[in-house]
Symmetry: C2
Subunit: 141 residues, 2 copies
DNA sequence: CTACCCGCTGTATCATGGTACGGAGTCAAT
DNA sequence: ATTGACTCCGTACCATGATACAGCGGGTAG
């Protein structure tokens, strides 16, 4: 396993060098020690794995703080699968709520697009009128 | 129409005083002139209407920059309903794309929740494994 | 030998949408 | 007369997730 410099690790994880350093500052990963022999730090092994984990969690909608929690679980001695499942369930609920909010917004837009003549002066624009009178249903922004 | 101070306008529009000043700094609304007679500025009439408009646009998912565009249309001499409709259609597309991305995320979470035993040690956790190997489909975050 | 890329470090900046605070002035009620 | 509520103004700060840049040093390629 050839030593991975930060640049190679970044490319391998599909993120930027600065992003890795940002994660270090945020405590998501530990900065590898400088080799006693000098030279660049080694981002291979567990560190690269953690970087990939962060990328994967991000794809699933986890925030960095939540991802940090999952990473902490990974290292907790008594952590169980149930803990992870609870996090995933909570996230699923959040995502579902966002979907519902956005769906309401989309439907409102559809309704307005249907009601708007689409030509002529602004005075006849159903969309602007609706925004002004603000009788649209609220969404989880 | 009794003169609306900034505080009353804020309550009336359901936002904070600081938020109104923030919108002024951002150019979304013009700061009303100080009355020659002294005393507080008057946020009634068109200004309050604009504040409500901003709140309505926000509920429909428009960003402040986009809302500024809509407000500019409201004042443009030659603006037509078609311009507004184009913005709304574009926003609908964005919202739809976000919904699809989130739906993929939700489905991934469902799949993982189904595959995960939900008890036992982390070594058996399908969720963590999946995050690490990152074979989940990407989402529009 | 020099250019150039890379790593290392610290700090600054960006976008987004606000929120908070300090200090001064004004106004009405007690 | 003093308190309290409010405005006004400027500036600073928050979270989130990065991104950029300056300045130093080492190794390699031409």
């Amino acid at each position: 396993m050839a030593a991975l410099t930060i640049g190679k690790a970044a490319r391998s994880a599909g993120i930027g060098v600065e992003t890795i350093r940002f994660y270090e500052r945020k405590g998501l990963i530990r900065q590898p020690p400088r080799p006693t022999a000098g030279g660049p730090r080694d981002y291979g092994g567990g560190t690269l794995q953690r970087l990939r984990f962060i990328a994967g969690a991000k794809r699933l909608g986890f925030s960095l703080a939540e991802t940090a929690g999952l990473l902490a679980l990974l290292e907790a001695p008594g952590a169980s699968c149930r803990d992870v499942q609870a996090q995933a369930k909570a996230k699923r609920g959040e995502v579902q709520a966002k979907i519902e909010g956005l769906t309401r917004i989309r439907d409102s837009l559809d309704r307005l697009l249907g009601a708007c003549p689409g030509k002529g002066s602004l005075a006849d624009c159903a969309i602007l009128e609706a925004i002004e009178s603000a009788e649209n249903s609220g969404g989880t922004s």
